[in-house]
Each structure stands twice: as C-alpha cells, then as structure tokens.
Symmetry: C2
Subunit: 242 residues, 2 copies
DNA sequence: TGAATAGTGTCTTTCAGACAATATGCC
DNA sequence: GGCATATTGTCTGAAAGACACTATTCA
C-alpha cells in the first residue's frame, strides 16, 4: 500500500527535504499542471466562449481555451483568476472549478494535467482589446465552434453539461447579467443556454417564487413600448435550491 | 497573455524537449500531483469511509485518505483505480472524480495538488486484510470520524455533499449494493446516506416509477417472515434523471 | 393609432407526501 | 397462532405546464 506522502520525499522537490544523491530528472518527472478557463458570455442572443489562437506548435494557428501554468505560490483558483484578468480584464465574476483532465496523451509533447474552470461574465464587461496583448482572441458562439486544439472540445462539452444543468437549480446566471436587468432579459439567458423557448408567464411565476430576486422600483425604457421594471438578485453569490 | 504551452519548455521536463542550460530546480519547480480516494460503503446501517493511519511525518499516526502520486504514464482515473485495488482489492466499482484541491499550503512540506475521487463499493466486497499489507487500515462511520490529516476533512465534507445530492438524481447507489437486492435494502441505503427515515410506500412508488429497476422473479428468505422479491438495476452504469 | 414589449390569471395535470391494513413464511 | 417483514392504494396539497388578453410608451 502507498501511504499518502510515502513516496513524496523521492518524487517531489521541496525546499525543506533533501533529494537523494542519485536524483535523476528522468526517473522522477512530475507532470505539468495548467489551468484552462472557459469564459462564457451572452451576446446577440448567443452563448459565446472566449478562445485564443495558438501562436506556437503544437496546434499552431488553431483555436484553444486560454490557460497557463500554475505558479508554485498560487492556489488553483488564484491561477484561474489571474488568467481571467489577463484575458478579459474583468474581476468579480462567477468562477467555478469544472473538472480536471489528465489523460496521458492529451498534450503531444509531455504529460500535462489541466484543471478547467469556467467563468460567467456579463456582456457589458467585455473589453478584450484593452486588456490583452494578443491579437487573436475572439468570442465564438457555442454552436459554431472552430476546430479546437488539444482535448478542448471535450472540455467545452463538459462545461456545457454543467452549465445547462446548474442554471436549473442555482442562481449562477447572475454572472451573465448586469446588476439590474429586466425579467425578459433574464428569461432570454435561460432560453439561450437551454436552447428552448419558454412561456413568459410560467417563467416569471417560477423565477419569482424562488425568492432570489427583488424589484428595484426602477423602470427601463428602451424604445417605443411600455417600460420594464428592473430587478436584481438579492445575492450575487452562489445559491443552490431544489 | 500566456498561451497554453508558451512556458512549457521552461517549466516541464519532457524527453523530447531540451532544457535550457541554466536550468535550476528551484526556479522551475512543478507541483506534485496526487490522487486521493474516498471509498464509501454501507455496513451495519452506517455509511463508512476507508482511512489509513499515516506511518510517517507529517501527521504521523493520524488518519488520512488513501492516495498516492500519479505515474507519468497513467491517467488520473487509472491512478485512482490503482489505489483502489491496492487498498480494497475490488474492481468494477463506481468511481467518480470529485474535485481538485490545490491550496498552496495544504501539505506542509511542498506544493501538492490532489485530485480526489470517490468510489462506492458494496459491503459484501470488503476484504481489507487480504488485499493490503498495511495494518492500520479501517472503516470509519462518516459520523464518527477521527482527526484527519491535511485537508482531508474538507475533502470528505465535499464528497458527502456530492453524494447526498447525487443519489437523488442518479442511479449511483447501485455501487453500494450487490447485483440483486430487496427494495427494503435499497431504501435503507437512501435513509443512511440522507440521514432521514422515509415512508416505505412513497419510496417504492418513487423508485419504481423511475424505471431503473427490474424484478428478478427470485425471492429472498432470511427469517421468520414473508420473503422479499429481489430486484436489480437494469443498468449498472451511471444514469442521470430529472 | 399603430408598433413593440410589459405584465397578468385560470385551468389541468402531475408529482410529493401523509397515512394503515392485509399477505406470507417461518418458528 | 405469533412474529417479523413484504406488499399495496387513496387522499390532499403543491408545483408545472398549457394557454390569451390588457397595459404602457413612443413614434
């Protein structure tokens, strides 16, 4: 049996632990660990994900999820947040660990384990150009994805499963909306993510019965029609129900 | 912006990529990656988890989840399965990735990221003595846990959340039962995991309406009372519903 | 006054939960 | 016949789903 830590003195490099004399790099390789991040937003009635075009081999010129190596002194979540800020400049967004992908051959060069996170950002916060030095960063509709590098298609599929199920028993859609919003906007978010039309009356009955929203009293006028009341989430932090 | 892979040649050790001349271990450390596994079973009407007593520092003589380092040529799931077989000798059990814990200080010696998996094993399959060379391996009722090493208490709490919610919308309890079982046994599993008594008629109505079970036609006689019909899951693989 | 979106209520069906009596086999 | 567990159905309340008309503002 392998006790946790039993092999560690031989395998892991630590400041406080002496390596054996005959230490050899090839004998005691450890995998690289990256964080990949799926940034979702809703724009023009479509769910979109942020991709970057790779500048180097492998998969040069193909699109991939943004990501990078974790640093030794930052937590996984901190690494994900760092990537997120680098790519989008946004803070205070919904961020959740998705899954860890660790097949041995998922990177053709070496063993790379990636911890995938997904983030939900309101479309208003988008300002890619200002926050990144990369030319080839773009939003892709989830239904019109290009060919993707590595196993990133699989990761996106996994994220879509999580997202579509989780909006039905949590308030995480707050991450895709501004502070104040019309109920019709909220409904649109559900419709886009679930790819189905919903009945307005039933939707409003349902969402209001959850008690997560409160009316602000403000009205939003944006055209030649009756203005809508603006609502907001009581809590902009994860709440599960059901 | 950091492209995925951009730093890799400097950080990761690969057979095919040359390291820079001035390579220095401390500059380019990478974290260790372990797999920890939570093995759950139900025995004597209690939900129990398998723990091992640590033989070395840190946390010497404290209880911990079984786990170990991943090998460079095995997937995460393969590593979890390897640990599972080492500890319990069982195969063909339900196994699911739980979460990846990567706080910088979770191991006092060095940076260790752990990918936690949980397994569900039927109590009949238990045969610890025969399959392990460690004296200090034991099942602990989830409600009477000892002090735990590292952040393993947090990991167990996380697993309990997953387990209690997931049995309500999936068939994963098949992992805790033998092939054929009485409905009263199945109900007991739910009651133990959810820590609540259920109504027999409502439970049977619910579980049968899911269409996941089929009657085997066999009866099980185990005492001075009416024998029970034995049921089995149509599929012993994960099925989600709702 | 026409166009465009906001806002609202009823009916039906389905599902969850409370609740108790009979059936069968073994001793 | 006594004991222990197995098996079965009804009623009620809550929630989900189908469905259509009126309200308000601006051009």
């Amino acid at each position: 049996m392998t006790f946790l830590g039993f092999q560690r003195i031989f395998v892991c490099m630590s400041d406080t632990i002496k390596l054996p004399e005959k230490y050899n790099l090839n004998d005691y390789q450890c995998p690289s660990v990256t964080v990949d991040i799926l940034v979702f937003t809703i724009e023009a009635s479509e769910l979109k994900v942020l991709l970057i075009k790779r500048a180097i081999e492998p998969f040069k010129d193909e699109w991939a999820l943004p990501g990078g190596f974790i640093k030794m002194d930052e937590s996984l979540e901190a690494a994900a947040l760092r990537e997120l800020v680098q790519e989008t400049g946004v803070k205070n967004v919904y961020l959740e660990q998705l899954y860890t992908f660790g097949d041995t051959n998922r990177d053709p060069r070496s063993r790379v384990i990636t911890v995938a996170y997904f983030a939900l950002v309101p479309s208003a916060k988008l300002d890619l150009k200002a926050s990144t030095d990369a030319a080839d960063v773009a939003w892709f509709p989830i239904k019109k994805l290009p060919k993707l590098a590595f196993d990133h298609k699989k990761i996106i599929d996994y994220a879509m499963n999580r997202l579509t199920s989780k909006i039905e028993y949590s308030n995480i859609v707050y991450g895709l909306l501004p502070i104040k919003f019309r109920l019709s906007e909220l409904q649109k978010v559900y419709e886009v993510i679930l790819s189905k039309k919903m009945d307005k009356r039933n939707f409003r009955k349902w969402i209001l019965s959850l008690g997560l929203l409160e009316a602000t009293g403000e009205k939003d006028t944006d055209g030649a029609h009756r203005p809508a009341e603006l609502f907001k989430f009581k809590k902009r932090e994860p709440v599960l129900f059901d």
